[in-house]
């Protein structure tokens, strides 16, 4: 079997979108967890935080690797697009990196610091704040590559600020934050057996679902002027938008009837549909208005090899991921917290 250059490009573009989807539905919820840590309130504030920590502790690092895979795919298969994004989005990418570094290190410091004192609380605060800022930057970057204002030559403002510092990308940034917060809230209902805690998270899921809907409309309206080419390519009634709507309603229904495990899948599907809707409208562009998956692609020798590496890597990766999620999301129901374990060991 031999694939043409265009076949390889399409396949790799598909892998890119799939990786982005997995990053959003898996890694996105880890950021959302941090957001809810920041906003933990009410009589069960501490229990909320503990549930969040327990839910993301074993998996966030593995989930984070999807982002690395996306970057690596971009620079090995679509180097011209990586070049363009790296220059024009230097500032938001740098801010994103700050968020990533602070979130990851602060979360780990909080989990593993031996003494549960004021210092340790501070890591929690940093973790929560950086978990909130990072998704906004991620969404802003996605908005910027869709907006059509990216250039690599010109004055400072038009190259380095104007592509992302405008209403549309920033609205996409907040949309991403709310989607991740929504995902986390829905997932967390299934991460605890405590009915009152489930209610806490369910309420948060309802609220963010409503905000998400409002923001989706805002983003759509802003796209008309802020991302005119993308707007032109969005077909509002295409099946994918219908799918998004059905998944959104189904999530609410399953939450209301306390079928949290199924609600979790519906919420993930909702976010996946939103991303695919965006990806289809964005096709064939990676970065509007200049870089498509075709004109930025590498030589076919590289594309074929990366596809083979992805196939081989996938054979290793998916069973491993399944095992990880099986151990911590399906099998673990009543086991102790990592924090408790630490206390146990210390005493």
């Amino acid at each position: 079997m031999s694939l043409s250059h265009a076949d390889c490009v399409l396949l790799l573009g598909g892998v890119g979108v799939a990786s982005l989807t997995l990053y959003a539905v898996m890694g996105g919820a880890d950021y959302g967890g941090g957001f809810w840590d920041l906003l933990a309130t009410g009589p069960r504030k501490d229990e909320q935080r503990k549930t969040i920590e327990k839910a993301i502790g074993p998996i966030w690092e593995a989930n984070h690797v999807w982002l690395i895979l996306i970057v690596v795919l971009l620079f090995s298969c679509f180097p011209r697009a990586f070049y363009t994004a790296s220059i024009a989005l230097h500032i938001p990418l740098t801010l994103l990196l700050f968020g990533i570094v602070l979130r990851g290190s602060a979360f780990t410091f909080r989990t593993y610091d031996s003494e549960k004192d004021e210092v340790q609380k501070r890591w929690g605060r940093i973790f929560a704040i950086s978990s909130t800022i990072t998704p906004v930057m991620l969404g802003t970057i996605v908005g910027a590559i869709s907006g059509g204002h990216i250039i690599t030559k010109g004055d400072f403002f038009s190259v380095y600020l104007s592509p992302w510092l405008r209403p549309f990308p920033i609205a996409v940034g907040f949309f991403a934050l709310m989607l991740f917060a929504y995902l986390a809230a829905v997932y967390l209902t299934a991460d605890t057996k405590e009915p009152l805690l489930q209610n806490d998270f369910r309420l948060r899921a309802y609220i963010t679902q409503a905000i998400t809907a409002a923001l989706a409309l805002t983003v759509y309206l802003l796209a008309r002027d802020g991302a005119p080419d993308l707007w032109h390519d969005m077909h509002i009634m295409s099946p994918i938008y219908v799918g998004t709507f059905i998944a959104a309603v189904a999530t609410v229904v399953f939450l209301a009837t306390r079928r949290f495990a199924i609600a979790r899948f519906c919420a993930a599907a909702q976010v996946a549909f939103i991303l695919w809707g965006w990806a289809l409208a964005q096709y064939p562009y990676i970065i509007r208005p200049s870089q498509t998956i075709f004109n930025s692609a590498s030589h076919i020798a590289t594309l074929e090899l990366v596809l083979m590496a992805l196939a081989a890597g996938g054979l290793l990766l998916f069973p491993s991921f399944f095992f990880l999620y099986h151990v911590f999301k399906i099998k673990r129901t009543t086991s102790s917290m990592p924090g408790d374990k630490l206390k146990e060991q210390q005493s």
Binding site: E61, F82, L93, I100, F107, T302, S320, F323, S336
Partner: protein, 439 residues
């Protein structure tokens, strides 16, 4: 400061920071797995405790390594977009493979850290071994890419464009594997020596604490073996450098005139304008022996090359000497412990030895940092040897000083916090005497 120099500083600082966590992320999982294996084999729960303690250290340091590694993958583009535009399709392949190695590392570390009670014991040990193996594989792939920057292969350069691209040939470039072996050995030796130093210091206070005795034994076995093997790997690399990057080798030795029977220069200060090295200790013919295994072999000097192609001689030469010096000290201490063990079958625990270990313990990491200074500064002014200049690949983004300053402050803060937390952990280490452990 010039933006190019700032970009180099930011990249260098990011690499220097990341390499410490990356090296620990390779070696500490192996050590915790060895401890766990000994626990399963002997039933001695001191080893279990040790595996758990080390795994906590691995967890903290791995997380910082993971996020600082993410920064680097983006910085390749943020700082050197011209390089990535050219090199992405040629050398992206090992990075893609590294991505998968990183995936398995993160997945199985999650299982290892949080799964003590959730998975069967052999599965748990297996998870630890997968973490150790994927850490080593990650290093291998990333260093293949660095090797390519030093000895680029797998493409033809026509009018500044790469054609006939062969990513496999690029990945298996001549410098890649020897460099990777050198770095892997360094990672094991450096990490094991730091761990040995910590436990040796604690043993000095209480020699009958078998927790620290067992820890020291494992750390010395790994660190000693790798420190003794390291000079062989270095020798291979030196010969390769003499052949493929003669300018770098000449800079490493501050060797100006092409001569037969060249002498090895230790230390000294280079006067670049005058083209000579002052105040150095010279060992006759030694450079020819090391570079070509022949005391009369000719070694090319810097004067054979354009001055505009020279790296900074002082930095490269002194870093090289620092690396070798540290490596030799570690090897000598290792031979001392190994000699004692072979004679008596016992762990050497005299005060003078424990103190020596403590003194030598940071040298592995000093050697790693110095060694990368040699590799990276020694390749200057090229980002891809003889293909692309660093100055042609740097981003047009102005005001890089801002991001460089912010990253420096961030990493400085993280370094201090990590040290603080690790010391708090060490402060809680257990006291177990012979006979007190549960079998």
């Amino acid at each position: 400061m010039h933006d190019l120099l700032i970009a180099r500083c930011q990249m260098g600082m990011s690499l220097a920071f990341h390499i410490i966590f990356a090296a620990i992320g390779i070696a500490l999982p192996l050590m915790m797995s060895i401890a766990e294996w000994l626990w399963l084999k002997t039933g001695d729960n001191v080893y279990e405790e040790l595996a758990k303690r080390w795994s906590k250290g691995a967890a903290i340091l791995f997380a910082v390594g993971a996020v600082s590694g993410t920064v680097l993958s983006f910085e390749l583009g943020l700082l050197w977009p011209g390089f990535m535009d050219f090199a992405g399709e040629i050398i992206g392949m090992p990075f893609a493979l590294e991505g998968f190695a990183f995936f398995t590392e993160a997945i199985f570390l999650g299982i290892y850290l949080y799964g003590w009670k959730l998975v069967p014991k052999p599965v748990h040990l297996f998870a630890g071994l997968v973490v150790a193996a994927s850490g080593a594989a990650s290093a291998l792939f990333v260093i293949f890419a660095n090797g390519w920057m030093n000895t680029p292969t797998g493409f033809d350069l026509i009018d500044g464009k790469a054609i006939n691209i062969d990513p496999i040939k690029a990945m298996f470039n001549p410098a890649g594997l020897p460099e990777a072996v050198h770095m892997l050995l360094a990672a094991y030796a450096a990490t094991a020596f730091v761990v040995a130093g910590i436990h040796a210091t604690l043993l000095l206070k209480a020699k009958d604490n078998i927790f620290h005795r067992r820890a020291l034994a494992i750390a010395l076995a790994l660190g000693g073996a790798t420190a003794i093997l390291q000079p062989l790997s270095g020798d291979l690399l030196a010969q390769l450098t003499a052949q493929l990057q003669p300018v770098k080798l000449a800079a490493m030795e501050a060797h100006f005139d092409t001569t037969k029977g060249a002498s090895l220069n230790i230390g000294g200060i280079t006067d670049v304008k005058a083209g000579k090295l002052n105040y150095a200790i010279e060992i006759p013919m030694m450079l020819s022996v090391l570079a070509h295994h022949d005391p009369n072999a000719e070694v090319k000097g810097l004067n054979d090359f354009e001055r505009s192609d020279w790296p900074n001689i002082n930095i490269v030469h002194l870093s090289f000497d620092l690396m070798v010096g540290c490596g030799v000290a570690m090897m000598l201490v290792s031979l001392w412990a190994a000699g004692y063990y072979v004679k008596t079958r016992k762990l050497l625990d005299s005060d003078i030895f424990l103190k020596s270990i403590a003194v030598v313990s940071p040298m592995g990491f000093i050697a790693i940092e110095a060694g990368w200074m040699v590799t990276e500064c020694g390749r200057q002014p090229w980002i891809i040897q003889n293909v692309m200049r660093v100055s042609h690949s740097v981003t047009p983004m102005p005001g890089l000083g801002v991001s460089a300053t912010l990253f420096t402050l961030l990493y400085l803060a993280l370094a201090l916090i990590v040290i603080f937390i690790v010391f708090r952990q060490i402060g809680h280490s257990p006291i177990i005497h012979e006979g007190e452990q549960k079998q």
